[in-house]
Symmetry: C2
């Protein structure tokens, strides 16, 4: 078992990476001095695969565990789904010492975390991420929330988990497209934080499907990515400064996701597109060499991720959408731009013109 | 202007009590280094009385201020109302540095605070309480939230205001029954914390309507009550221990409110009933002298507050409802019981029997 400490003042917690790990959930939770009642939240497909093992492990450790199953998909990451968790919490008579466990991808994790943040003004929360994206990103750092019909993650709260348990074996059932989406965040860590991780991936032959990765590389990707995220959020829990670098690729990415109704591209694909755009903007502003931008784009392509805008998207609509993004400060859009592989800068000096030009170059060929 | 400091680590703030104070809202807020955008939340009746002055004061200080008006009443303290604030926040394009101002009683304050806690994972929040209850209690301490159809305040978050501005003059338009409801919380502070405040009220002739109180007594009541609440929450922001004493009278009070559908009795009346019950339970357990219980009940009556259960209420249903109350720990109901005027203890040793007996004695005469 590999353990990473997330050193947030007053609420430090551990990320445990163990294969197999699912069967140790109860054991690891019983070290945390939690109340007996546990409500495990999942979606139908994931619960069918892994729910029984998780519940059995909880019960074996003496927890009184039941489940709440929500429909799958980003379009259900809403207050309405959270209200279903509230109803289950009420029916189960959860107390302040009780725990909500999220078993699923980032959608289940974000909603369960928001419910845990707001039920009885805060109950315990444990993350068991099952998608690559949730393992290396969404499950770590305490951001929770749901979408507003007009914007992603506009409603939310900070609420740190008491434990993050990662079992790499569950990735075997993750659809290939979802695996690739998670790779977008891994590549992000390489670009913003960990040049060595970037080089490891450059040297590997394929990155587009889990079965082409050696167990060692997968283990390394999980360890280093979780470490990168843990380092950044430990230094800046509430996004006062440094933590903003994790939004690399997300400024334009969020606009692309939202304008295509969260259906055409998934989160990771949108981030890939956003990273390509951000690197090009950095090149245009003379902050990044075009060699480094080319290296990044090559890695994104090797991971089977898109480097062009989805067809038909309106570029002016993207520029408009940037204004409602949470990363706006006093009306100016903040961009995270790379200066080399392994390092980024935060700037609010980017005007609409270079953004527009870069996006025009990123239109799908022939449209 | 009387100023009370609420010394919560990392988020200290001031309670300013000033008559008139409303016109100084903008000035006081401009000392806090907030963003330009302000969304003021109120209800139709209160906004009609005081909205213009508050908005004018904000605009004079350079803020870009608009309003969001929600329907009045506890029955609208719901996620649906909060979603209306979210929609206004989106329309107004609030940023993380923007501020939500609550102008109203505890209902407006709790909802606006919850919206401020969860919009963009937290924006600034300012309280301008207009009811006595909100001034001395709801506006201070950072508890925010809404009701679940099956229970009060089950959904919420801790989110401290940046400023609480109290203008005693607005109490002139507060309906007498609402004034009395606020007096219940004031009496609570006398019983749990401030025996001197209790004696001051014992010595006054009437307490049931604001116009019978001298300006000095009113000022004293506001200062001492706000000071009591500030003292307690500064010592224990998140209700780990001490803060629970503020729930004196609320354990049974919440059950009574919820079982009568939040319509027959208001919050303060329910708390009055809860305090009578708690003192009787304390007497039954030998923790409180019956003299002190009689003094408390006399003060409650002088304030025009009820000391008997509403007619027709089912006592077994109250006992049942105590179980879903947030103050349950590992299945045991926690009670706050007075040991003398000015001091209370927290106990989970109260069984159903004495509760049942006390409640039977508190049934309205003739039923
Ligand atoms: N809180 C944060 O800090 C943070 C960070 C990044 C992303 N997010 C959020 O995370 C969400 C995206 O997460 P995601 O990509 O995990 O999406 P997701 O939760 O929708 O999962 C993707 C799909 O994979 C399925 N799945 C997950 N694990 C599986 C497994 N082991 N086997 C088979 N199928 C599996 C899911 O059922 C779903 O259909 C977005 O809502 C995004 O906003 C949050
Ligand atoms: N957050 C906390 O710590 C906390 C503490 C105690 C109570 N509360 C909550 O506060 C709520 C009760 O607050 P409340 O008693 O203020 O109720 P309220 O907000 O409903 O106000 C009572 C009535 O008085 C009216 N009103 C308020 N100020 C007025 C004025 N100056 N002139 C004329 N009319 C005025 C309101 O419009 C309303 O009709 C409950 O929901 C309770 O749960 C919260
Ligand atoms: Zn992401
Ligand atoms: Zn109260």
């Amino acid at each position: 078992m590999h353990v990473i400490d997330v050193n947030i003042p007053q609420q430090a917690y551990k990320i445990a990476i163990a294969a197999p790990g699912l069967d140790r959930l109860g054991e690891l939770m019983s070290e945390l001095n939690l109340g007996k009642k546990v409500l495990l939240v999942s979606n139908p497909a994931i619960f069918k695969q892994y729910g029984e093992r998780a519940i059995a492990s909880l019960q074996a450790a003496g927890f009184d565990a039941t489940s709440c199953i929500l429909p799958a998909g980003e379009q259900y990451k809403t207050l309405t789904s959270v209200q279903k968790i509230y109803n289950a919490a009420l029916e189960k008579r959860l107390e302040r010492s009780s725990t909500l466990v999220a078993l699923g991808g980032g959608v289940i994790g974000d909603m369960t975390g928001f419910a845990a943040a707001t039920w009885l003004r805060g109950v315990n929360f444990v993350q068991v991420p099952t998608s690559l994206l949730a393992m290396v990103d969404a499950a770590i750092g305490g951001k929770t929330g749901v979408n507003h019909p007009q914007g992603k993650n506009l409603i939310g709260a900070f609420h740190q988990p008491r434990l993050v348990l990662i079992d790499p074996q569950v990735l075997q059932t993750l659809p290939a497209r979802e695996f690739r989406a998670g790779m977008a965040e891994v590549i992000k860590y390489g670009v913003i934080w960990d040049a060595e991780l970037f080089v490891q991936m450059e040297q590997s032959k394929r990155l587009d499907q889990m079965r082409y990765l050696g167990a060692d590389l997968l283990q390394n990707i999980l360890n280093r990515s979780c470490q990168a995220k843990a380092d950044v959020v430990s230094k800046d829990e509430k996004e006062a400064g440094l933590r903003a670098i994790l939004n690399y690729g997300h400024t334009i990415g969020h606009a692309v996701e939202s304008l295509t109704g969260y259906r055409v591209v998934n989160h990771g694909e949108a981030v890939a597109i956003g990273m390509v755009a951000a690197a090009q903007i950095a090149v245009a502003l003379g902050m990044l060499s075009s060699e480094d931008a080319i290296r990044q784009d090559a890695l994104i392509q090797k991971a089977g991720l898109p480097t062009q805008l989805p067809t038909g998207i309106d570029i002016e609509a993207i520029i408009d959408a940037l204004q409602t993004d949470k990363k706006v400060k006093d009306g100016k859009v903040r961009f995270i731009l790379p200066t080399q592989i392994g390092a980024v800068e935060i700037t609010d000096k980017v005007t609409a013109d270079p953004v527009r030009q870069v996006l025009q170059h990123m239109r799908s060929v022939g449209k």
